[in-house]
Symmetry: C2
Subunit: 241 residues, 2 copies
DNA sequence: CCGATGAAACATGTTTGACAGGTGGCCATG
DNA sequence: CATGGCCACCTGTCAAACATGTTTCATCGG
């Protein structure tokens, strides 16, 4: 009704407007990770809204991983965090909006490309880390819980070698929601033959990347996704929804 | 110092615990999109915490896109929304955690795979929509603002033909943060030669997908990303950070 | 002069109570 | 049976207050 006193705040809920204000502030002032943002009361006075509303906004931004708010400390800009993306996917899966196979479909192509880019962008240290992670896979049988962790470490090492934060984030995020169902599936139903195949495939992946052979790396990762994992998928062992 | 009085509520903030409670509720009760969740006061009484805390949690979940809360209405489970992902990427870009080229690197591979999967999973209607979207690209010059919209529509049509919500969501989300910088870039610096090339490439994409030729589709999309766009990228015209 | 100590200032965490306004269903009246 | 109004319930917002954790800085003792 009135537009003469408060010029900015009008259409949506106050919280949403405060959130937009803060995001705008971050963009405008070119704030980086670790920088502080104004305190709740400051913003509350600045925008002439109650502290409760501002609190809601801060907590919302903290939930999406933008801000880090802790008691006593000044709120700071937080680093991009794969867990919020992972929660997003996990939630989508929990509400049956996506299923495990669809996640695999996306993961396959992203990890294939990650392997390719790792052959191009990876430093020698990156490749060494990948090789070490690959070696550690021989230390445990597939049924061992530790093996899953080593497998995870290998794929993460590949993702890091890409030197593109998006790949690191998304690969971590897409892996998390499948972790437990994978553990169960692999623990229960893997035959000796499949186990040997899986280990051999991982060796191929490591070797291809370390030789900076993009084509072979891509192919190896593709097979890694196609052969054993999708077999489990089709058996219905890996099931997330 | 003391650990004898409060047994349950201790480590995290109450808000976080309420959020976890709600997410757990959604998972446990197998709630789907559109279902209602308990009201703020109900949860507040249920968990014996103040309504303000519960409100913060509800708003946080609304910001993440999980819940839809409106005055008077009961809070409901919301459909997965690409805008929250887009905001995530936009925020990462705004805080210089990622740059435009890294987004393109991810987009290229995802959209390539989308084209491949579209040839496999797309229905005849899907392909018809893709063809129509492709035709409309000839109606405007590249410099026209409407052309960008048609280009967007084409890529979205391809994403939809995959029949995997993750592809729809991520392609939409990755495109949004680049939209404006692309608009400027294309408007200002595209030569006639490049323009013809771009349009021809789009025709190739449409034709390949409609012929269900996965290899050609993938190749066409790859070139679409490699040739004109990366040229703009290298010139520094498209710049997001 | 320097460093440690303590308190004040400031930050978030949480509660209570209150009121306004929107939404939807129930019920009585026509 | 239809329709209006009414009421119960919901979110949106504010204000004041207290608890607790962190930072800062001045003061005091060496």
């Amino acid at each position: 009704m009135e537009d003469f006193v408060v010029p900015v705040m009008q259409q949506n809920t106050l919280s949403s407007q405060v959130i937009r204000f803060l995001l705008g502030l971050i963009s405008e002032k070119r704030l980086k990770v670790g920088d502080v943002v104004p305190s709740e009361v400051k913003v509350s006075e600045m925008l002439q809204v109650s502290r409760g509303i501002v609190r809601e906004s801060y907590r919302a931004l903290a939930t999406v991983g933008v801000l880090s708010v802790q008691s006593g400390k000044r709120p700071r800009i937080r680093e991009m965090d794969p867990t919020v993306l992972a929660q997003f996917f996990a939630y989508a899966a929990a509400t049956s909006q996506i299923n495990a196979q669809q996640i695999f479909e996306l993961r396959r192509v992203i990890e294939m490309q990650a392997a390719v880019l790792a052959t191009k962008n990876g430093t020698d240290e990156d490749l060494m880390r990948i090789r070490e992670a690959g070696k550690r896979l021989h230390d445990y049988p597939i049924s061992h819980p530790e093996w899953i962790a080593c497998d995870y470490a290998l794929h993460i090492a590949i993702a890091d070698a890409v030197h593109n934060p998006l790949f690191q984030i998304i690969i971590r995020a897409l892996r998390a929601p499948l972790e437990e169902s994978m553990r169960e599936g692999i623990e229960s139903q893997v035959s000796i033959h499949t186990e040997i195949h899986i280990v051999a495939l991982h060796d191929q992946i490591v070797e291809a990347i370390c030789n900076r052979d993009a084509v072979a790396a891509s192919k190896a990762i593709e097979e890694h996704f196609n052969a054993p994992v999708s077999a489990l998928l089709k058996k219905g062992i890996i099931n997330i929804n």
